[in-house]
Subunit: 324 residues, 2 copies
């Protein structure tokens, strides 16, 4: 079994070695630019890990793993235009550094490059791999659309929210693991179980992210605490609070949501106080735990030696147990 950290080094080198044509420069430079912004390369590393788990040749999984990284960054490039985000990883986003047209078209070209990289699997598994990849891509687009539509809505249901995060972030984790498993020679059933592990883990991870935004230790979390509260982002916590709040509490919460001028610290404090009164943290942790258990249930059914299952369990624990 290869260690995840070693696989991250391997894939980082492969990303660095990835070359695109020199011309037209405005099509390909933004692709290299966004890929060079770095990151943990967690998704492609997990594809390699999944391949390795089933005894597959990790070298054969590198190009498909790159496909996942290129695809993920394509979605970021387009999402950043839609969100009007000025920065990504502290650097200018592509549409800021160039312009929106460049970011649209480079993103399109990037998706084609991702497809080409994903095609580099053996003929025997080509259709299975591409079917998973295409389904994943559809899910990510649907999730992004649903997320955008939430901004215009004040009546989002918890189940709609869970479906959105499943599509927007979790299916990519599931699909990535499934593709790695297929390349590694896993059975249909085991590949599907690993998919289920990944999707449920992804949902749990996103719920944890929602919780950490409010209750995380700012030094360990690495983001501004309360960022979601300040932007009225429809997280699990806010949706649940809107569902449970009654009378004065509901008025109080809604007045904070509608206030255009406010002191940031005061708003974070006030909304957190409402969350506390409503036990929102407990609801969110319970939901997170439910999805983590679904992930572990799927994991327990995978036909792997106990030490390999243990390895996956530890990986899941390391993702989920971040300091509060």
């Amino acid at each position: 079994m290869k260690q995840l950290t070693d696989l991250q080094v391997l894939i980082s080198k492969a990303v660095d070695a990835l070359k695109f044509p020199d011309s037209p420069a405005e099509l390909y430079e933004p692709i290299s630019y966004i890929l060079d912004l770095g990151g943990k390369r967690l998704r492609p590393s997990l594809l390699l890990m999944a391949c390795d788990l089933f005894g597959g040749d990790v070298d054969k999984a590198i190009e498909p793993a790159l496909a996942i990284e290129v695809f993920h960054n394509f979605t970021l490039m387009h999402d950043d235009i839609m969100d009007k985000a000025p920065l990504r990883r502290g650097k200018k986003t592509v549409h800021e550094k160039w312009n929106a047209n460049v970011a649209i078209l480079s993103g399109d070209a990037m998706m084609v490059e991702a497809n080409k990289l994903m095609m580099k699997v053996d003929d025997a598994i080509l259709r299975r791999v591409m079917d998973v990849f295409n389904e994943t891509a559809t899910g990510v687009c649907e999730g992004q659309q649903i997320d955008m539509s939430f901004e215009q809505r004040n009546n989002v249901l918890i189940d709609e929210y869970l479906d959105m995060i499943r599509l927007k972030t979790a299916v990519l984790l599931g699909g990535t693991l499934k593709i790695g498993a297929i390349i590694g020679g896993a059975s249909l059933n085991d590949a599907q179980l690993l998919y289920s592990f990944g999707v449920n883990l992804g949902i749990a991870f996103q719920l944890q992210d929602d919780i950490l935004d409010v209750y995380g230790d700012p030094e360990k979390f690495g983001k501004q605490v309360g960022g979601d509260i300040l932007s009225n982002k429809k997280t699990y916590l806010l949706i649940k609070a809107l569902e449970l709040a009654r009378d004065e509490q509901a008025d109080n919460l809604n007045s904070w949501l509608n206030l255009e001028q406010f002191d940031a610290a005061e708003k974070v404090l006030a909304v957190t106080a409402i969350y506390n009164q409503l036990d929102i943290r407990q609801y969110a942790e319970y939901a997170m735990q439910t999805y983590a258990e679904k992930a572990f249930d799927a994991l327990d059914q995978i036909n792997l030696s106990e030490d390999r299952r243990q390895y996956l369990r530890q990986f899941a624990d390391s993702l989920l147990v971040r300091e509060y």
Copy 2:
């Protein structure tokens, strides 16, 4: 041999029957909307024709033909955002009817749908077909990028222009025919010759379009004569005129290009007069003829019965001999 008009009816029905999920509505409605705007469905019909030419089962080519139509419309949806085009076929463009974010994301989803449709070929030809499709998609993105970059440049060379129209419009025609040929069971060599036929015919067709903009009969052409002149569009004619004009003629042409306020009819008349003095129409027709001949040369080498080659020749003639 099936008639092209019959294949157009067949593919129009298939486009009408194409169904996408109901939800999320803002992701899938724009896809149905742009596909419903109609058109001659020439590209997908040509894919069917190419399959039929080599004795293939046209039914097996319908989904790949739809893939080409969906892909083409995806590029239109994104191009319309970049060009800030308000109308397409007399109806609001997607980014006008909804907004730019919807058009970006629906376009992305559409490309995934195109990939899924193209995957519906037999395993034995899956990789060959997808490789052609991906190369075509890369070409179209590169062509669009080069075309956009021309707007900021005043020193575009004729060869750069020819390369741009090859990528932006002709490789899709070539790739479409090649995929149809592969599905129809053509040899590697014949599929490649049909590709070459399509690419060269596509370039000739685009050059004809440039000529018709200035010298076409407005009733038969169906567009405003001189539209390219009014928008200073870098066509073969303008690039050649900028290359050949000297002294007073060059000053005159440049002053029309730089004039921000002008009478439309006067500008069309004046620029056309410069083109006439420089024999630009003859240059353009010669270039068009050169590419048409390259197309016919490739056609002559395809291993098909003479009546089938004749059918292709007539099709090419029908595309190229439009009334002036």
